[in-house]
Symmetry: C2
Subunit: 140 residues, 2 copies
DNA sequence: TCTTGCACCTCTAGTCGCTAGAGGATGTAG
DNA sequence: CTACATCCTCTAGCGACTAGAGGTGCAAGA
């Protein structure tokens, strides 16, 4: 068993050093052994954990959701209904976010296209912002 | 000139009372007159400002970008190149965000569809999170 | 062996854009 | 005159980190 330093763990997992310490401080990652000089010394299991966390964060899961997913992973005989529910909830969030961003994109495109690159008083960008009535999506 | 209280301003602008005070504190909204009893008393100009800010926030512009846009609006003879640049930058951000969310959506759909609703050890949700190699988009 | 220099340690405070709550003053309707 | 809503200021909290200060550990070269 070669010891894995926090820097090495960061390199292998793609999670930054301070973030690893932060995850430990909030109880998301188990405290590793320490070297004689008080430096953290990780096992492979920690690296798996970090990879899991990182992937989940990239998918936009919140820390609390990840906490739940991790406890589920630790008890493989449990029903995966909760995991399923968490993922479904996240999926709905993502779909909603995409819809709203798509509307914003359309509005921004109008603004940018309408900009005559002249003076501010003829600028669609400023104008649309100032007068929401001109906006394509007054419901927002 | 009837006086507009902060509550009334909040109702008309759709910006919450504490948020209005917050905008004032960071210098985004000019300090209004005060009543004898030290209560804020707004003018129409403040309401226009608030509407502008709110719309810009809904479009996802950052406070600093809004600060710039507001100073541009105050000087209508200036070139609107900066406004154009800010809006374009925001558009690019939004497009990027939509692309990445669309990828996440696909991955989440795979996870949810693959979940057999049984035990955790057969669950795609947990499995995909744990093993990034199974992920559709290993580049993220 | 000494020293250089990077990586590590803890701790606090800052980021963004609000939001919540305490504790008190003001304004208005009945 | 008394409720009661609304207002005031101030501080602290949110999530998920990130930055920096001030100090220690450790491996490699001279």
């Amino acid at each position: 068993m070669k010891k894995i330093t926090i820097g090495e763990a960061a390199r292998q997992s793609g999670v930054k050093v301070p973030t690893i310490r932060y995850y430990e401080s909030i109880g998301l990652l188990a405290e590793p052994e320490r070297s004689e000089g008080n430096q953290r010394s990780y096992e492979q299991s920690h690296l798996h954990r970090l990879a899991f966390i990182r992937h989940a964060r990239e998918l936009g899961f919140e820390i609390d959701a990840i906490r739940t997913l991790l406890t589920l992973q630790d008890d493989p005989h449990q029903s995966c209904a909760s995991a399923d529910a968490i993922a479904k909830a996240r999926l709905i969030e993502v779909e909603q976010r995409i819809r709203s961003l798509t509307a914003l994109k359309a509005e921004l495109e109008m603004m940018v296209k309408g900009c005559g690159h002249g003076r501010v008083d003829q600028c669609r960008v400023i104008e649309v912002l100032a007068d929401h009535g001109e906006c394509m999506h007054p419901q927002h």
